[in-house]
Homo-oligomer: 219 residues x 4
Amino acid sequence: MPVADTKAKPRWERRKDARPQELLDAALDLFVERGYAATRLDDVAARAGVSKGTLYLYFENKEELFKAVVRANLVSALAEAEDYVAHYTGSSRELLRGFILRWWERIGETQLSGISKLMMAESGNFPDVARFYHEEVIQRSHALIISLLERGISRGEFRPIDKVNANLVIVAPVLMLMMWKHSFHSCRLEPISAPAYLECFLDLLLNGLQVTPASPTTH
Amino acid sequence: MPVADTKAKPRWERRKDARPQELLDAALDLFVERGYAATRLDDVAARAGVSKGTLYLYFENKEELFKAVVRANLVSALAEAEDYVAHYTGSSRELLRGFILRWWERIGETQLSGISKLMMAESGNFPDVARFYHEEVIQRSHALIISLLERGISRGEFRPIDKVNANLVIVAPVLMLMMWKHSFHSCRLEPISAPAYLECFLDLLLNGLQVTPASPTTH
Amino acid sequence: MPVADTKAKPRWERRKDARPQELLDAALDLFVERGYAATRLDDVAARAGVSKGTLYLYFENKEELFKAVVRANLVSALAEAEDYVAHYTGSSRELLRGFILRWWERIGETQLSGISKLMMAESGNFPDVARFYHEEVIQRSHALIISLLERGISRGEFRPIDKVNANLVIVAPVLMLMMWKHSFHSCRLEPISAPAYLECFLDLLLNGLQVTPASPTTH
Amino acid sequence: MPVADTKAKPRWERRKDARPQELLDAALDLFVERGYAATRLDDVAARAGVSKGTLYLYFENKEELFKAVVRANLVSALAEAEDYVAHYTGSSRELLRGFILRWWERIGETQLSGISKLMMAESGNFPDVARFYHEEVIQRSHALIISLLERGISRGEFRPIDKVNANLVIVAPVLMLMMWKHSFHSCRLEPISAPAYLECFLDLLLNGLQVTPASPTTH
DNA sequence: GATGAATGAGGGTTCATTCAT
DNA sequence: TATGAATGAACCCTCATTCAT
């Protein structure tokens, strides 16, 4: 066992710097698949190819692991979205449409939608996690959409409406699709075609937002 | 009553016919509060004022208890909604509006919204329960809303649209509000005013559905 | 609800005197089918068509119920066997053969063999029951067989052998057949044909007992 | 060792490779003592000096623990017996005699007889375990004894008899002795002297098997 | 006599977390 | 740094026995 051995770094040996990311990936997979409470750290470690103890070297506990997953994935995707909106130069209709479709592409269609679903599903049982997610993800994304609506209204492209609630109403069908994908859809029940669904949604939404000669909101 | 002994409180009090309902009520409370997996039958029994074993006299196991809760609450509410739609005589706009507001009143504002939330949240981990809920609740409610849209379209009150997806899009904001109420809202985060939210939603929706001279769906 | 009603004894109403026997029958069925520990008093009561509480009116507890089952069945069968031996007038070979075949007929082939099996199986966990069974059944039946061997030896029909142990050796194949019937045989594993088995056993046994010119027990 | 603290007993002691065997030993003790159903895994763990959870690190569940006990003990003993028979060169009478005495020595006199007893006692309630035991133990041991009888018959040392049933008849007294030891005998009732019993049995058996001028099987 | 609702002490199993090596 | 053996508090479910009616 000569000295050289200890220096040789075979390329199949995982560099220790890679460990956290491997754990985050494994954790993302499992949190998405089973939810927060139902994910066993045993399984996370196994999927990352390390022992359970190792997991605790990198993450204080289950909660911190989850927060790290959120930070590493959703928060960075959010920054990208903020950038997209900030630099958009076309019409607000196009911006809203593009925003929603990109949102679905970057989050909805990927595993990350599972995190949104998970938070809606379990935040009630884990208030600390909920608080964290609210501050890091929800507030920022809501601010972003509200600013987008303001842009449309101030440029005369959208009717003047209750921006805060419209934000939620606009967000709802996308969130719902995400949730569906990870609930009944995952049981092979009640499949939804995302493209057709989104098209239908945008059709209704853009019609609803459009400035009409006489908005018939009376009833 | 000569001797103090006769006053001795019995180890248990016979409630007979009232028990099942008391247990269903307790179970509803806790399933709503904590979700399916996180609800302990111990706690359900305790809240109903009985011992754990007693619960098993009335319900075979956790799953059957949950199904009974759904049947006793959601399924019966659904029947009422079907009745409401079947006998409505006014305009389809009013019907849709009334349907949604009543839905919120009878389900959304009550505890029952917690069951809808729970199913979205946990159906992935409990496929048997998911299947049951899909058959007893989801299919029926979707059929109901689709029939409502058909009525509006056939009477020329709504634009001809993709009914199946529109159903989902329409349902989404209400479901989202229900979920919100039992997730972030319950942590006192991001409160939503249901009436303002619903008004905003209906404003957008009814505008979106209205027949326009030139539907600007092009983009 | 006139007085006459209370006096009328519809013939479908079980007379209270029949209750104990019905319970004993149900208990026999279930003890035989599942064993002592695994038999639930719930099930015994249900099979007898009464409530669980009623069972406790007639039998102090599970143990007393079991003892009553033994008394009502095995002990009376034993008395009959004693009678058979006492009044037999033919050869001892024929007596032994007849005794064993009758034993199988009256006990082995019926449910009662299940009780013998049960006692061998569970007496270790229920010493009180074991003691009772030993006194009421085992000692008496051993005494009977030993007397039968003595008869054969004293009449010069059997070799002079160790009667106490021969008793056990003779009893073993029959007991084994009973146990088998209620263990592996009941799982449809390893079926045994009782008549062929007994014939083979008697062939070996009577040959083994027979007085030979030179008993080759040396080895 | 300067400070008392270093002497503090760790919450648990790492035993690693020794654990499985310790657990198997503890499990054997308790299964033999109480049977399958009545053995609590709590107690097995406690006897092995570990917590209940630890047991599940090594064995998937109670059934697998039991199977492991059988494999580690009976199956290996059986292999040894097969070897003994295969290499025996003397007379068949001696072989049969030796086989039975060794069987008693290696299994009957040790705890392992308790496993045989347990299976006879509880296989009816645990069909999966029964099937496993039948395949791994019973079929093999029956095949072994039948081959032994065939050897004797083909060499003209035993009368030509029904081998399959004779196998069972031969096995019965030994099994019975095992059962007795773990049932009434363990309650200090009806003690049997194993050597005298076996001697008596072999005397009868070898006489019964022997080739006689005129086998008087008529009756 | 008869009922059956109620009990409560477990039994098997799971899993986040700890810590000696 | 990495391991993985060990823990122990829960959780779901069972059942002999009791006792008010």
